[in-house]
């Protein structure tokens, strides 16, 4: 405030006091008393308060940043985890540990399907643990036998072959121990512990969208792949920083938007779509999980959950999580 005994300047509040007032920070008693009685300063304080709220409003409107998750922290509330007898081993990835978002395109829209795979703490086989938003779509799951052009032939858990047809608009994602899919020039997000200046990649997402959720303790780093080899690559960030990244057979590679050519024989397929002729499934979305080596990905612990967010479009009915579970229990 400018009104000290020898102060000949304006008797009104200093801008610093007005800013502090707008920020809810303490102001001295003299300034507070002045503010209570000075209409001019109250008007000024109100104006700065409005500006401050405008700035905060803009900041509050931005989505959450990619926050490293903590064990026991909040999980995706849209996903309902099925337990007990409803669990059905449909995938054989044999992976363990961490929360991974695969193909996270968006939240809250009715035309997104959220599928969650996990070990549920039991280790061993990966199971489908939840599906939501699957309105009116048929589903099937099994092991990829072959790819014929735009069609996939999978064998369900009951041994029944099912043909899954795809179109250019079918959403296809793949994940697994797929280091060969990390190629020079690819835009990637890397998550993993650092050792010196090197990142030991636990998860590499190839291509957008990049997940907003991280395993505990990992800070995501985005960049472009250079000098890719079976042992790793150099991550070049947008500012030109070059970061050595090592990969191994334990590295989980995720390709949110994959091509059929990137599917691996023997990988586990989960497909959603509409029933076609002769027992086929016309797929809107296909998620493929490749087998990890025995023992699973090393950097992870006992729990892995892969959440697939598939954009399938349209509205329909009859594909609730329980319907999915019943269908799976009946053999896919």
């Amino acid at each position: 405030m400018n009104a000290g005994p020898a102060d000949t300047r304006s008797p009104h509040l200093d801008l610093g006091d007005l800013i502090a007032e707008a920020n809810g920070q303490p102001v001295d008693d003299r300034a507070r008393e002045h503010l209570a009685h000075c209409e001019h300063c109250r008007a000024e304080a109100d104006r700065w308060d409005l500006v401050a709220r405008g700035v905060r409003g803009l900041a509050a409107a931005i989505p959450e940043t990619a926050q490293p998750a903590r064990p026991g922290g909040p999980r995706h509330t849209r996903l309902r985890v099925l337990t007990g007898s409803r669990r059905r081993a449909v995938l054989a990835a044999g992976v363990a540990a961490a929360l991974v978002l695969l193909g996270a395109i968006g939240y809250g829209a009715s035309n997104y399907v959220h599928i969650k795979f996990g070990t549920g703490g039991t280790g061993g086989q990966t199971v489908l643990t939840a599906v939501s938003g699957c309105a009116g779509l048929e589903q099937t799951a099994g092991t990829l036998e072959q790819v014929n052009g735009t069609s996939l032939v999978i064998k369900t858990a009951s041994g029944r072959p099912v043909t899954v047809t795809t179109t250019a608009s079918t959403f296809v994602s793949v994940s697994g121990a797929l280091r060969s899919l990390i190629t020079d020039g690819a835009s990637v997000m890397v998550r993993g512990p650092r050792s010196g200046g090197t990142i030991e990649a636990a998860i590499v997402t190839v291509g957008q969208p990049f997940s907003a959720v991280n395993p505990a303790g990992y800070v995501p780093v985005k960049g472009t792949v250079s000098d890719a080899s079976s042992a790793g690559f150099t991550l070049v960030t947008s500012s030109g920083t070059r970061i050595p990244v090592t990969t191994s057979g334990d590295t989980l590679v995720i390709v949110p938007h994959a091509s059929l050519g990137q599917l691996r024989h023997g990988s586990t397929i989960f497909a959603l779509g509409h029933a076609g002729p002769n027992g086929t499934l016309s797929a809107r979305a296909v998620a493929a999980v490749s087998q990890f080596p025995p023992g699973g990905p090393g950097p992870f612990g006992a729990h892995l959950h892969i959440s697939v967010h598939m954009r399938v479009g349209g509205r329909a009915h009859g594909c609730s999580p329980s319907a999915i579970a019943v269908a799976l229990a009946m053999g896919g």
Binding site: W48, D49, R53, G54, T65, Q67, R194, G217, T237
Partner: protein, 200 residues
Amino acid sequence: MNDPHRDTGAATFTASHDGARDDVQLLRRIGQGDEDAMAAFYREHSRVVLAQALLVVGERVLAEEILQDTMLAVWRGAGSFRGESSARSWVIAIARRQTRDRLRSRRLRVVDDAFLADQPGSDPGPEVTALDRAELAEVMAAIRELAASHREVLGLAFGSGLSLPEVADVLEIPVGTVKSRLTAARSALCRMLNEKGQNR
């Protein structure tokens, strides 16, 4: 100040950061290569850094890249943190340099003192009445359209939890200059609101 809407909505963002001691410990651990500490630091400061970067550059992807490079710089430079400023102002200063470099490469300017010197002084102009009549949503929309230099100083003063002396440290200018920039920014905001009001 009896505004019933005061402190609603964005309180968690604007709350002053009082974990200074924790931050110093975190930075010390980060300097020793502790990744848990880095993750904790990231959780603590990433949102504010992203918000400030987004306010200045106006592009989400670019702001995220600035956040990433800022955190990489923290990872690499935590050992050099001497505690002469708060960790919050330190990381925001890093983010500001990252932002400046990005915008410079795009031939845009973050702060141009010659431009700012031409702006009105501290006396409220006739446009200030536009601010008196404005709704919050209108103010938010107008802030988005301000020059980057104006958005930057407003974001630092009201969105980062920094005091004016800390804002001055980040901008590497005297506190008095911070005040004149804030006043210039508000004047520009008032003019914009006034123009929008006349066009309605």
